[in-house]
């Protein structure tokens, strides 16, 4: 599924505010599912709780079914199924938009930037491009190109950063749109597969980092910036 949001270009005028961190924390808790099984009032801060369930329809055999029914197949069943998924997709993107609008992603960027050199061997300045790529594949890739052209990253760093984005690109947009379709059937909290994706993005980037080092050793060359 393809995100085609326009570029959230470069540094916005305003800095990260306190509520940006709150929004980020809220998003993590909200999609983590940690409060899903709570019977207390604060289960209100959970995506699946608020997403709710469809009403049941009594079937002839005494079973209760949703409007999708049972035993359908092919295109028609696909249509009914897709309809049943719509609420989760609409709701999830609504929440993501609020978090984004309150600067939650900018807060994440601020927290991530100091970690980029140790974790990926790329400059902290790549933080914005990284956060952007979570929302838009095209915008994220465009920022790699412009950072390389303005000399902020060298060729090796460009390759590492591109690998980071390439695997699981458009992460947030894709996961919370197409992925939302399956949120209700996941046997783990929603945040678990998302976190696994995030971790492996770093793994992949480090594999290409090692590969580049290996090539350089083999060729006996020392590539400078």
């Amino acid at each position: 599924m393809d995100e085609n949001k326009p570029v959230p270009q470069t540094e916005e005028e305003d800095e990260v505010r306190w509520y940006s961190y709150v929004a980020l924390l809220f998003a993590i808790v909200f999609f983590s599912g940690v409060l899903a099984t709570s019977k207390e009032w604060y289960s209100v801060f959970d995506f699946t709780v608020l997403n709710g369930t469809f009403g049941k329809i009594a079937a002839a055999n005494g079973k209760a079914l949703t409007f999708r029914g049972a035993g359908g197949n092919g295109c028609q069943d696909g249509f009914a199924f897709a309809l049943s998924l719509l609420p989760a997709v609409i709701f999830a993107l609504g929440v993501v938009n609020v978090v984004e609008g309150l600067g939650g992603l900018k807060a994440a960027q601020k927290l991530l930037s100091p970690l980029l050199r140790p974790l990926l061997g790329i400059p902290g300045a790549c933080g914005l491009g990284m956060i952007t790529s979570y929302q838009s594949t095209d915008a994220g890739a465009g920022m790699i190109k412009s950072m390389y052209e303005s000399g902020i990253i060298n060729d090796d760093e460009k390759t590492i950063f591109a690998m980071y984005q390439f695997s699981g690109d458009g992460t947030i947009t894709n996961f919370f749109s197409s992925g939302a379709a399956l949120f209700s059937i996941l046997v783990t909290p929603i945040i678990v597969p998302f976190a696994v994706i995030m971790v492996f993005k770093f793994v992949g980037a480090n594999l290409i980092r090692m590969y580049i080092k290996f090539l350089q050793k083999k060729n006996g060359t020392k590539e400078a910036a």
Partner: protein, 158 residues
């Protein structure tokens, strides 16, 4: 948290705007992808190819405790993440995959997702040296395969 005067849009506006995006994505991207996947699975079913794929890939997919048919999810992921989600949903409703199976492949769908498109949209746009392309695709697929093992372990603990 929330509404400060500086904010041009308030939280309600932001939420409604996001929901509208969700509706658009749902109708324009998710639904066509799900329909295509359901039709494909129906076609594979009618022709008996799905059973065939299931048998052929059973030994491979067994590495992750998945039915052989799950290979269709991974192959469609290379083309489109949404298509793969649809394929997983289709196999789930056909009873071929369980909710646990779907949870296991979920991260893999994204880690090796849409690579065919992203060769152009990511690596092409970023002007990555094309000598790396093959390795990078390999790493993305490896990411996906490793992630399925991690998910298998996590799911086993749930």
């Amino acid at each position: 948290m929330m509404a400060e005067k500086k904010q041009k849009k308030n939280i309600i506006d932001l939420f409604i705007e996001g929901c509208r995006k969700g509706w658009d994505t749902g109708i324009r991207n998710m639904m066509p992808n799900v329909l295509m996947a359901f039709i494909l699975i129906k076609a594979l079913n009618v022709t008996g190819l799905l059973k065939f794929l299931g048998v052929v890939f059973a030994p491979v997919m067994a590495l992750w405790g998945l039915p052989g048919e799950a290979v269709t999810v991974l192959v469609s992921a290379l083309m489109s993440m949404g298509g793969a989600i649809g394929a997983a949903a289709g196999l789930l409703s056909a009873g071929t995959m369980t909710a646990k199976d779907v949870t296991v492949v979920m991260p893999a769908i994204y880690l090796m997702g849409s690579l065919v498109q992203y060769l152009g949209r990511c690596l092409g746009t970023a002007e990555v040296n094309s000598k790396y392309y093959a390795v990078m695709v390999g790493i993305a697929v490896l990411n996906a395969l490793l992630a399925m093992w991690v998910m298998k372990i996590i799911v086993a603990m749930v």
